[in-house]
């Protein structure tokens, strides 16, 4: 069915180009429907063709190969950010579950953290590179991207893990108290397994967020080698060759799908702990 939807969208795209005038549709002064000429909306064939084109001066190989290497680069940065975000988010959730006062003090800020426009902080974080040394490591530019990635990823993990760790009903927690189980034992034997159905959707959201964070950070920093930078470069060349920019955007899309797909593999591995439909 997804395939059908995509085919329909493709058909709509070409139909639009056929029907709507080149200059778009205006209402008074404002353009309410976009232009349909070949510069603004390349034919689908042109878009697919862009992948095979040769790179311009400064790079070698085809557009496709540039996109693939950029995606690989960004994916690794996003993965580092994801890992950091998951660890931080999970530790936060554990602290908030353990001590109610920590939850009450911190949860509003955890929610608030998502109103911060990271793309704005990215250049500021980037400014640390070359000038900051943390635990004996010089701050590398790529670290700025991973930090942003981690920042976006930690939120769904913190919220999802908190809900998951708090999910066992009173009957179960009371049972473990009868066994004189310590907080740690209760965590490992009850809360962690119980949190799996909440963690899986949270991890998927975090994976997608890590990808978005990495790309957005790369765009605002202009980090060479990443998908974000490639999008900006091709976008700047749009007047010359409008179809190129679709390639890295598609690459970004693939990157997101791969990230979520990898988490789904984890889902399969943890089947034992969540036999029913995922909790939402």
């Amino acid at each position: 069915m997804l395939l059908l939807a995509l085919i329909l969208l493709a058909a709509l795209w070409e139909l639009y180009k056929l029907v709507i005038p080149d200059d778009g549709v205006r209402l008074g002064d404002a353009l309410i429907l976009p232009r349909s000429d070949d510069t603004s909306m390349p034919h689908l064939s042109q878009i697919f063709g862009a992948f095979g084109k040769q790179e311009v001066a400064g790079a070698s190989g085809t557009v496709a190969s540039s996109v693939v290497s950029a995606v690989w680069y960004s994916l690794r940065l996003a993965a580092a950010g994801f890992a950091a975000g998951v660890v931080v988010g999970f530790l936060l959730a554990m602290a908030m579950q353990r001590l109610r006062i920590v939850e009450r003090a911190l949860l509003p800020y955890v929610v608030l953290s998502q109103t911060v426009p990271l793309i704005a902080l990215a250049p500021l974080v980037y400014g640390w590179s070359g000038n900051l040394t943390l635990f004996g490591l010089d701050w590398q530019p790529w670290m700025s991207v991973s930090v942003i990635s981690a920042y976006l990823a930690f939120f769904p993990v913190a919220v999802g893990a908190l809900r998951g760790l708090s999910s066992p009903p009173a009957v179960q927690t009371e049972l473990l108290r009868c066994y004189a189980a310590s907080w740690w034992q209760t965590l490992v034997r009850l809360r962690l397994p119980a949190s799996v159905p909440y963690l899986i959707p949270a991890l998927k959201l975090a994976a997608a967020a890590a990808v978005v964070g990495a790309i957005v950070a790369e765009i605002s920093i202009g980090l060479p080698g990443g998908v974000g930078r490639l999008i900006i470069t091709y976008a700047q060349q749009a007047t010359g060759d409008p179809s190129r920019v679709y390639a890295p955007i598609a690459g970004a899309a693939v990157m997101g799908l791969v990230a979520v797909g990898l988490v789904s593999l984890l889902d399969v591995a943890l089947r034992r702990y969540h036999t029913q439909e995922e909790a939402t």
Binding site: M1, A5, Q114, P117, A120, A253, L257, V260
Partner: protein
Amino acid sequence: MRTQAVWAGRIFQGVWPPIIFGVGFLALWQWFVEVRDIEPFVLPKPSAIFEQLRLHHDTIFEAARITGANALVGLAVGLVVGVVAALLAARLRVLDEMLTPLAAAMAAIPIVALTPIFNTMFASTSSTPRRLVVAIYVFFPIFVNTLRGLRQIDPVHAELMRSYAASPWTTTKVVRLPGALPFFFTGLKIASSGAVIAAIVSEYFGGLQKGLGPAITSAAAASAYPRAWAIVTAAIALGLVFYIAAVLAERLAMPWQRPQGELS
């Protein structure tokens, strides 16, 4: 009378831990920067940031107004389209089966990456590309959550409506729609603050140089870091305003959800 006092007491209880934490955090930040003599480009002092806010509040407010307008228009459009799509998808299985996997796939994709495409489609001097990006970003949580709410119906309510020989549309109007409201608002809360972020991020892809995003970049480029952070603070405040508006809308639309005492 007594319930009002109880209510006020509960708000206070809920509010003091984060406030204490926030104030403490700011104080610690200020002390840390001063004691370690940290450069502004790494981390400016909170006092310097507030100073910049005070000095430049006019321009900052203007930039916030523009970004806010984009976010609002995008939010409104995405909201309407999302709700209509959910209503249609609840009714027509075919539409549901096409849109839902598409929504799941789109959740993994950075939507803001579409901005360059829209920039070329529309004139680069128009605000439409940014508003469109926000609308698309907002559409998905609204659509997914509203559809989920429309689909689920308490079996007792379903049987009751059947016993009244009510038509499917009547059942939707009387039971499904009010029942879907909590789900819709879940989506709205997610979408509202995200709309501001999407608006700011889309400003980074070129086009008009007004709005909070470009203001931050130009401040950073001029090495005026306290000012840059001040504008970031304004952006946070804008996101908060949207989020609080969504929460207020939820309280207004669903008065029955306010926790009240039980009688027997």
